[in-house]
Symmetry: C2
C-alpha cells in the first residue's frame, strides 16, 4: 500500500483547547502542511480575512472549510436564513482560498417525518447557491453522513446520493469521503469508482467498538475497525490526489494536550491511513 | 391510508417483566392474535415444545422466531458453533410453526477490519443451513440492521444486500423490513418494490429525536420521525400480507407495567402504523 498523501489537520480534532492561531502555529511547527478550519474558529480569530492572513503566514494550505449546508428548515424563513448563511460561508471559503467548502445537508426539520421533502430542500438549497459558489471559485463538497445522523444532521446518507446530486446539478460540486461516515456501505466500492475525479476531500477517523456516544466518540485512525488504507487506495484509484484530512471528534482526544494529539495524528497518518 | 394488518407482539417489547407465558396470556386477553418470541424466552419457558403448546393454548399464531444468524466469527470453530446454533434455531422455529426465523447476520469478528470477508461468512453460513431450513419448512428472514450496528451486530446493512442474498441463494429466504433499521435509506422505495413477494415480516418501532443510546432506545410507533404508514403501504404494494409486528427495544418501555404497554401497543398499531 503506497504511503498516504499529505496530512491536513481538521481543527475540530483539538477544538476544546486550541484556537485557530494555535492550530496554525502547531501545524507549522510540526511540518503539517494543510489545515481545515471550522467557521466558528474563524469567527474567534477575528473573521475570515484575518484568519486567512494568519494561516498564510504559517505557510499552510487550507484543504477545506467546515461547513455550509443545513438547508432543511420548517418554514420558508428558515430556509432563506440558511441560504444567507451559506452565502457567508462561500465568501469565507473564498477569502481563505479553501480548496472546498464542506456541505452538511441538515436533518429532518423539527416535527417532520417527510424525509423526501427534506431531501428536496437540500437539492433546492444547493441549486440556489451553486452559481455564487462557482463565481467565487469555491467547490461545494457534499458530505454524506452516517445514517445514524439522518434525523438530526444529514438526510444525505450515502455516497450514491451525493454523486446523484453532482450529476443532477452540474459542475462546481464534489463529494467528501469521510471514512467514518461511509465505511459500512455495501455499495461503497462501486460508488467510489463512480465518483471518478469528484472526490473533493478524503477524511479519516475510525469507528470504535464499542461506540458509546452518537457523535463525539470517533477514534484516531488505527484504533477502530475501518480499513482506512484500503479505502484511501480506492479513492486514489478514483482520481483523488488531495491530502488525508484527519478529523477526530472525540471527548477523549479533546481532553488531551493538543501538541501530543498532533504528534499522534502525524504518526497515525503515516501508519494507519 | 388503509388500516394496518393484524398486530403481532414481539416479546422483547416487554422482556424485562414478562416471560413467555405471561406474554401469551396478555395477548390472548387483549385479542392480539400473534406473537413473536425470542429464543431466550423459549428456554425460560421449558423449551420450544412446551412453549409451542402454551402459545397454541392461548390461541396465538407465531409470526416469527427471533433469532438465528450471527455467522461471523474469528475462527472456524466459532463459525461451526454458529451453524450448530442455527440448526437448533431452525428446529425451534419448526416446533413453534413460526412463519419465519429472523436472521441477524453478525458483525465484524473481534479484531477484524475485513468487512467483505465478514459478509462472505454470512453468505456461506446461510448457504450451509438453507437446505435444512427448507426441509423444516422454516423461512429464513434476513434482517438488514441499521448501519450503526455494522461493527457489532450486523454486516448486513441494507435491504438491497438482503435481496441480493435472496437472489443468489434461491428459495426459502425472505427479508425482514424493520422500519427502525431501514427508514433512512435513500434507495428504500426501489428496494421495497424489488422485494416483491419476499417481505417475510414488517416490524415497527420509531426513531426518536434525540436518540440517546445506540441499541435500546427505540420509540413506540408514533413517538418518532418515521412515516410508518407510508412504509407499510409500500410493503403491502410489494405483496406483504402479514401482520405488523411491534418490537420496541427500550429501557423506558421495559420499566413500565406490561399490561399498560400492551394497551399502548394496540392503540399505536391502530393509529400510527
Amino acid at each position: 500500500m503506497p504511503r498516504p498523501g499529505p496530512l491536513s489537520l481538521n481543527t475540530a480534532t483539538v477544538r476544546e483547547r486550541w484556537g485557530l492561531a494555535e492550530c496554525a502555529d502547531g501545524c507549522s511547527r510540526r511540518g503539517i502542511s494543510a489545515i481545515s478550519p471550522w467557521r466558528d474558529a474563524l469567527a474567534d480569530a477575528g473573521g475570515a480575512e484575518r484568519a486567512a492572513r494568519r494561516i498564510r503566514e504559517a505557510g499552510l494550505a487550507v484543504s477545506s472549510l467546515c461547513r455550509g449546508g443545513m438547508f432543511t428548515a420548517a418554514d420558508a424563513a428558515g430556509r432563506r436564513a440558511a441560504i444567507k448563511d451559506n452565502r457567508r460561508a462561500i465568501a469565507e471559503a473564498h477569502a481563505l482560498r479553501a480548496a472546498s467548502l464542506v456541505i452538511v445537508s441538515g436533518g429532518l426539520p423539527p416535527g417532520s417525518r417527510d424525509l423526501e421533502g427534506a431531501r428536496d430542500m437540500v437539492r433546492d438549497g444547493l441549486a440556489e447557491i451553486l452559481d455564487e459558489a462557482r463565481a467565487a471559485g469555491v467547490m461545494l463538497a457534499l458530505e454524506p453522513q452516517h445514517p445514524v445522523a439522518c434525523a438530526d444532521r444529514s438526510v444525505l446518507s450515502t455516497l450514491a446520493q451525493a454523486i446523484d446530486l453532482c450529476d443532477e446539478l452540474g459542475w462546481g460540486l464534489g463529494v467528501v469521503m469521510d471514512v467514518w461516515q461511509v465505511w459500512w456501505d455495501p455499495d461503497l466500492a462501486r460508488q467510489i469508482a463512480r465518483a471518478q475525479g469528484r472526490i473533493a476531500m478524503f477524511q479519516a477517523s475510525d469507528w470504535l467498538v464499542p461506540t458509546t456516544d452518537l457523535a463525539p466518540d470517533r477514534g484516531m485512525p488505527g484504533d477502530g475497525v475501518i480499513d482506512i488504507p484500503r479505502l484511501r487506495a480506492m479513492a486514489e484509484a478514483a482520481g483523488y490526489r488531495g491530502p488525508v484530512e484527519i478529523e477526530v471528534l472525540s471527548r477523549r482526544w479533546w481532553s488531551r494536550d493538543p501538541s501530543e494529539v498532533l504528534g499522534v495524528v502525524q504518526e497515525r497518518h503515516a501508519t494507519a491511513c
